[in-house]
Subunit: 122 residues, 2 copies
Amino acid sequence: MVSLLHIDPASPGPLHERIAGSVRRAVLEGEFAPGDTLPAARDLAQTVGVNINTVLRAYRDLRDQGLIDLRRGRGATVRDGAVSRARLDGLADQLLAEAAHLGLTPADITHLLNERKSHESR
Amino acid sequence: MVSLLHIDPASPGPLHERIAGSVRRAVLEGEFAPGDTLPAARDLAQTVGVNINTVLRAYRDLRDQGLIDLRRGRGATVRDGAVSRARLDGLADQLLAEAAHLGLTPADITHLLNERKSHESR
DNA sequence: ACCTATTTGTCCGTATGTATG
DNA sequence: CCATACATACGGACAAATAGG
């Protein structure tokens, strides 16, 4: 049994998103290394106190983001490169949050990124 | 009322995948242009004879693939560039299917793609 | 090599919530 | 305030992979 993942019950946002966030953070902090197997969805669901499908939804999202592999009978395993992916996701979230806080539209953000890119290529 | 999307009941694969495939094909064939609104999930679910969540699952996947926008209260609308995305997805599926038919592993496919890339850059 | 019980994710459905117009 | 339409969470049946004998 491994807890390692404690989900704050009084934080904002959907459950599956908080769970995915916790896993992402755990990977980022090295609690799970590439190749490691995450807790089985059923187990994590029980320890956290949510339905298995909610955890599975989080796992599936993480898989779509390229962070983990998900195979029935085996479980969820951390993919190579997951750490850098997680770091990128974290930075992206940060950027988006700051931008939203400043009232920037998606178009503004796109424009800003293109600006930075053209700088970088000099 | 708009049918336009007929899902073959006797084809292989999960329902949500077949539905997503139908929508993708419809967009590809120009039955829905960028900006158009897709049938409401409930309606499509009823005409097809499945649960609304199965359709919503398909819609969400298509959104994650960048094909449509999904906003609650409004509906699902085809995004700009959806046609080319759909075409790419179609080609990718074709390539993967052929490769699988030849018994190629994912690693083989990656290798093959890298080969082609190096050719192209000459 | 075989079988079968367990583990573990996949899929579809039901009910309720919540933003939009 | 009401109707619309997607979003979220949960429940149960199922199938693939695996482990033991």
